[in-house]
Symmetry: D2
Subunit: 398 residues, 4 copies
C-alpha cells in the first residue's frame, strides 16, 4: 500500500533515503534453520555497490550491512531479520539548487506533488539507492532457496545497451561470464562493445538505456495463483518496481504479437529421460508430459511448467546527466539551465543485475512458501518438532 513492502509470506519492508542516515530492511517470514552470515548478504551488496568500476558512480559507500535480529549463532530463527546499512558518503548539500527546481525526468516534482514536501538530497526516497535493501533481502531469499531441497538458480546479465545487443547465451554462459566484466554481459565480445559505447556517452556527459535478461532454472512446476497472483503478474510487479523500468517481458515477450498460435504453441511429449518420478510414489510409465520448447517462458496459464522462467527488463537511461538541460524554479518563477553534476551512473543495467536477481529470488521463494514447497516455519525437520536451539553454548552467547 505504502510502496515499501514486497512479498506475501516472504516479505521485505524497507526504508531510507539516498542521503539520509541509513537504509534499512526488515525481512519477515524467513523460515528458521537457514544458515545465514553477514558475509552472505555483504557479498550480494558488493555486487551492487557504487564505485566498483569506471562505469558506475564514484560515490564512496562501503554498504556495510549490520544484522540486528532474526539470526542466532549463524542460523535464522524464523523471526524477523532487521538489517541496516549506514549511508557514509551522503552529501545532500549539493542538491540544494534543485530544491524547488526539479531535475528533468527525476521524481523531484512528483514526490513534491504527492507529499507536499520531499527529502531532496540526491532524490531522497526516489533514488535507486533504495535497492540496497532489496539486494539484502534477496541475499536472504537466495540462502533459503540454496539450502532447500530444490535446485533453483537465478542468473541475469545485461543483454542490450543502446543499440548494442548480445546474442542469445546459455545458462552456463550466464554462470561463467556475467560477472567477468564491468558491464555484466555474459557475452564477452559484446561486453567490450557495450563498455565502449557507455564510455562514449559518459564522455559526452550523457547516459544510455539498456536491458537485462533474466533466467531462473529449476523452478518446480505448479507455482502461481492465477490471475492476479500468477507468476507473470507478480514478476511484473516485482520488476516494474525496479527504478527506471519501462518494459517487462517474459517468454517471447513483445514479439509474441507477431507469432501465430500454431507456431507459438508447443506440443506435449513424454519426458522419457526421467528415470523416476521426482515427486515420489511410483514412476509414471513414460515420464511426465513436457512441452516441446520453451517459447512460453516457463509459465502457462499463469502457473510454472517446470521449464526455465525467463524474460527481459528494459531500463531507461539514467536521468542524472551533466549535459545542459532546462528547468523552472517554482519558488522564484525563473526558468533556468541545469547541469546535474555529481557522481552518477552513465548506465543502469550493470548494477541492476544483482537487483533483478534479488527480486527474482524474493518472488520465487514467496511462491515456494505459498505453494507449500518450503515450510514457512522451518527449513528442516518436521512441523511441530522442537530441537535444541542452534549452538546454544557457543562463545558468542557467553
Amino acid at each position: 500500500m505504502n510502496g515499501n513492502e514486497f512479498g506475501r509470506l516472504f516479505r521485505m519492508t524497507t526504508y531510507g533515503e539516498s542521503h539520509g542516515d541509513a537504509m534499512g530492511v526488515t525481512v519477515s517470514g524467513c523460515p528458521a534453520g537457514v544458515e545465514l552470515s553477514v558475509e552472505d548478504v555483504q557479498a550480494e551488496l558488493d555486487r551492487r555497490k557504487p564505485g566498483q568500476s569506471m562505469i558506475t558512480t564514484s560515490r564512496g559507500e562501503p554498504d556495510a550491512v549490520v544484522v540486528n535480529s532474526g539470526v542466532q549463532d549463524g542460523y535464522t530463527t524464523g523471526t524477523p531479520i532487521g538489517m541496516v546499512v549506514q549511508n557514509k558518503d551522503a552529501r545532500s548539500g549539493k542538491y540544494e539548487p534543485y530544491v524547488t527546481a526539479p531535475r528533468p525526468s527525476h521524481g523531484d516534482f512528483t514526490y513534491s506533488a504527492k507529499f507536499g514536501t520531499r527529502n531532496w538530497g540526491g532524490g531522497g526516497r526516489s533514488s535507486a539507492r533504495e535497492t540496497v535493501n532489496w539486494v539484502a533481502a534477496g541475499a536472504v531469499a537466495k540462502q533459503v532457496i540454496e539450502q532447500s531441497d530444490y535446485d533453483i538458480e537465478v542468473k541475469a546479465h545485461v543483454n542490450q545497451i543502446g543499440d548494442v545487443k548480445a546474442p542469445e547465451v546459455t545458462f552456463d554462459d550466464l554462470r561463467e561470464h556475467a560477472e567477468e566484466n564491468d558491464v555484466r554481459c555474459a557475452h564477452p565480445e559484446t561486453a567490450a562493445e557495450m563498455q565502449e559505447l557507455i564510455e562514449e556517452y559518459q564522455t559526452e556527459g550523457d547516459s544510455i538505456g539498456g536491458s537485462i535478461y533474466f533466467e531462473a532454472q529449476g523452478v518446480p512446476r505448479g507455482l502461481g495463483a492465477p490471475r492476479f497472483d500468477s507468476v507473470s503478474a507478480r514478476l511484473g510487479q516485482a520488476l516494474m518496481s525496479v527504478p527506471a523500468a519501462t518494459a517487462f517481458e517474459f517468454g517471447l515477450g513483445r514479439e509474441a504479437r507477431e507469432w501465430t498460435g500454431h507456431d507459438r504453441n508447443e506440443n506435449w511429449e513424454f519426458d522419457e529421460s526421467e528415470s523416476e518420478d521426482p515427486s515420489g510414489d511410483e514412476p509414471r510409465a513414460r515420464g511426465d508430459p513436457r512441452p516441446v520448447g520453451n517459447k512460453h517462458g516457463g509459465i502457462q496459464g499463469g502457473i510454472t511448467t517446470g521449464e526455465p522462467v525467463y524474460g527481459e527488463l528494459t531500463l531507461h537511461a539514467p536521468t542524472s546527466i551533466p549535459k545542459k538541460q532546462r528547468t523552472v524554479d517554482w519558488e522564484t518563477g525563473e526558468e533556468k539551465e541545469i547541469q546535474v553534476v555529481g557522481r552518477h551512473d552513465p548506465v543502469l543495467p550493470p548494477r541492476g543485475v544483482p537487483v533483478v536477481e534479488a527480486m527474482l529470488y524474493v518472488t520465487i521463494l514467496d511462491f515456494m512458501l505459498l505453494g507449500g514447497r518450503i515450510n514457512p516455519d522451518r527449513l528442516d525437520g518436521q512441523a511441530g518438532e522442537y530441537d535444541t536451539p542452534y549452538h546454544p553454548s557457543s562463545p558468542d552467547n557467553e
Copy 2:
C-alpha cells in the same frame, strides 16, 4: 494470495469457471452515493461478450449480470456489491478428450500440477471467461470516476495484429473510432487490414497475436507509492494478469533501451496556460512546472505527473486452434494428435480492449482512494455527515 483478488481499497474478488454454473465478482470498497444501474455494467459486458462478430468465438452467452447487493434505489450504499453472471452455453462434455491429454500451451497441465486435479471444461478457471468479472468490476470503477470531481478517461484500442501495425492515433481517434470496427482499432484503414489478416489465419485454422495500446487522460499528479506500489508496478501486475499477456510497457517501453538520457529527458517549463491553480488556493504566478513532452508515459519516480498515462500490452495468439497438434495422454501413456475444435477466438486483443480498460479503471480508482482524492466512504458530502438514504419510499421498496 489466491489469485482472485485485485486492488487494495477498491477491490474485486472473483470466482467462476468457463463451463461452470456462474461467474461472480464481489466489489469491496466502492464509495457510497454513486449512481449505478445494471445497465451501466451490462453495457461494458456487452463490449466483451462472445459472439459479437465473425472474429470472436460463437459461444452463445448473453452475459446478463445480476446485482445482488450494495446498490439501493440506483445508488451504491458503500457496502460490497455482489454480482453474478450465469453461464448459459456451457458444454464441458466436448472437453472430455483433453482430460488427461493437455492441450498445447494451455493451462491444462499446470493447473493439474498445482492442484492435483482441475476443472477441465473449457479450461475451467484458466479460461479468459474469468475476465467477465473484471469488466463488471471495471464498470463500477468507471462510474465512480465519472461521477467524481475528476475528469479522468481511459481508452484503449488494438494497435497491432501480427505484423500489421497501426500508426499513432490521438485520444480523439480512440474516442471516435475504436468501437467502430470489429477489430477495435482506432485507425480505420489499419482495422480493415487487421480484419483481413485475422480472417486469413482463421480460415487456415490458426490464430494470431497482437497488442493493445491504452491511455488514461486526466489522472491527477501525485498518485502512486514507490516502489512496489508505484503506478507502473501496480499497472504491471494488473495488465500482466490479463490472459495471454507476455509484455507490459509504458511510455517509451521497450524502446527506452536505445535512447540516451539527454534525448529521453524532458525539460521543465511553466504551464502558462493555467488560468488558475486547480488544486485551490491562490494561483501560482506562472503556472505549474510541466515536463516538455510525454516520453515518460505520465509516471516519474513511480508517481503520476498529470500527463496522460499510456503504454502497450502484448497478447500472444490464442492457443485453442483447429490445426493439428500433438499431445500425450498421461493416463494411457499414448501420444496423440489433437485438434481443438469448438468455438474459439482467432485473436485476443479486440475482446481484450474492454478488459484492459476495466483493469485501468480499477487500478486508477484504487490509487485515487489511496491518495485521498476520492473519499473511500462516500462520493459526495462530508465525512461523518448523514443524509436521508436514497429514495427511501420509492415503489421498489414497498
Copy 3:
C-alpha cells in the same frame, strides 16, 4: 480493509444485506481434493437459520445455498468457491419508519454517518443475517479439517444467559448435549432454566444477553505468529467481529487479573503416555514436555501448545425489542416513541453457536495452512503431482 474479508490463506469475502436480494460468500484458498457437497454446507446453515424454535425470529428463510464454482463432481478444485443464498422473506417496507429515526443501539445511525446513506431494510448490511456467509465458509473449512490428517474438532455451547450460568462441562458433553435443546446449552438442566428465562423476557417484549463457551481440541502445537498474528490476536479479531460481541476471553480470561503468577503458571512434565512421537522420527525417551493443566487456554506466547484452545464470547442482548423506547427523526426534527415490532430473536447465543464454531474453523484452518500443516494447494498427494481430475466422466458432465 473493507470489513467483508477474513482470513489470509483461507479467506472469505462476503456481501449482502438483510433484506436485499441475496447473501454471498467467496471462499478463496480452499485446497483441492476436499469432498464437499451442498448438503455439508446446508447442514451448518440449518443450525443457524431463523425460525428453528420458539426462541428465534420467525422470519421464514430456507437459507438454501447454491454453489456456483470451485467444486467439481463433489470435490473442491482449489479455485474459489462462490456461494449464494437468496433472501426469500425480505420485507424491507416495514422498516420505513426508521429510515431517518434510528432504532436505539442499532447500527442505523452509524452506518448513515459513515456512508451518508444506508440500506435501511432490517439493518441492511449491519444485520446479523450477514453471518449466514460465515457459516457457509466455516462449513467448507470444517470439511477441509475433517478430511485432513489432523483430528481437530471445534464445539461451542451457550454457557450463560442473563444470570443463569452453566457449570463447567466436558468436551463430550458438548458433543452430546449442545444440540439437544433450543438454547444450545450442553448442560440440560441449565438449558431448561435458560429457556424459561428467555421466554420470560420475550413475553415482556424485552431481550437478554448471554455468552458462548468454545473449545477446539486437537489443534497441533506450534501454530500462530506472535504478536499481531498470534492465535489469540486473530481469534480476538474473528470473534469480536460477531454481531453484538462485547468481550472476548481465552483461558482464564478476565479472571486472570486476580491470579498470582505462581498459581497460574503451569509446570512442565513429560507426557509419558505417548507411545511414539506423532511428528515422525524416533520417539523421544520420555515423551514431549507438556504443561500440567490448561489455565493457559492452549496458547502460550501467542502460539498453540497442543492443549485445547478454549474461551468465551459475550454477546449483548438483541437491540430489536417490542418494548417502548424513544428516538428522534433527523429529517423532521421530531422526538418520537419507537417499538421495534417484527420478527426478532430474544437472545443471540443459541444461533450464535454455529457462527462461533464457523469462525473458529476458518481461523484454525488459516493457521494450519500458514503453518505448513495442510498444503495450501491440495489436501492429498504430493505438491507438483498431477492426477486424473475427479470423476471426469460422471453423468453430471455429459
Copy 4:
C-alpha cells in the same frame, strides 16, 4: 501474516529479540508534514522503559531511539520512518539453563515447537521487550493525530491489580492522576493499595495479574468497516496482541451478558448543545441525534458513534517468578526444579499503560486514514499541491 506487522494504511513492521542486538520498527504510511522529533518518541519510550521504579524490572535499558529515515528538518516526509533502539543491557547467558528446559507458562516451548529452534535469551522474540517498537510507532501516530484537525485523546490507567479494584474515574482523572504514581492508577488511594499488594507478592517471589482501562475521546463518528474490520474487531486484534492479554472488553464488556435489551439500549435524543454542525454546511435544526448514555462503548454496529471509545484489557501475572517451580529438560530427559531469577516485573499493567495507548493511537489513526478523515499523503494542504520542502537550507543540511 508473520506477526510483526500491524495496521493497514498506517502500519508498523517490527523486529528484535529481548537480548539481541537491537529492536527496530518501520512506520509506513505516516502522512508528510507532521512535526516529529526524536524527543517526541523518546518521551513515550521513557514511560515504558524498565527500571523506572521499584515495581519494574531493574534491567538497565536507556531505550534511546534513533530515527534513520522519513523525517527531514523536523517534519515527516511521507516516506517510511525507520527507528532503531539498541539493546544495551542484554545478558542472554543467564538464560542458558532454560535452553532445553522450558520455563513454566512462557513461550519457550511453543516457539521451539513452531520454529524447531528459538532465540532463547530472555525469551527472545516472545519477550514483552518487543513492545518498545509499538510505543515508538504509537508516538508517531499520536503526533499525527495531535496535529490534525481532530481533537482526539487517548488515556489509559491501571484499574485492577489482583483483587484491588479502582472505582470509576473521569477522563480528567486519567489526565491528571494516571502518571502520578508508579502503578499508573488514576485513583490515588487505590494506587497506594495496589502498590502495597504488588510489593507483597514481589517479596514472596511471586507476581500478580491486573487490568488496564482505556478511553479515547474525540473519535469522530463513522469510523470502522464492519464486520471483520469493525473498530471493535481491530481493537480486539490490537489489544489481544499485547503480551499476557487474556481478555478484551469494550463498553459493558463481559457484564453485557447479564443485561436486558431494554436496560442496555440507549434512546436517541437531539444534541441541542451543538451550536453548529461540526461537519460543515448548515447546522441542523435541533443538532445531531445522540445516544443517551454510553454503555455501548462508543461503537454501534462496529462503527464509532462519536461517544468515547472505552474498554478494558486483562493481563495475566508475569510468568517469570523467583518462586520454585518444576520443569523438564527435553535433551537430558530430566525433571528439574526451576527458579526464574533475574530482573523481572512483578506486575504488567503499569508498564502496559503506554503500550495500550500506543496501540490505540495506531489503530485509531489507521481508521482515520481509511475513513478519509486525514489525508494519507499529507497532513496539511491540498492533495497534488507542492510546497517548498521543509527548511531546505537549515544548517543540518549543509
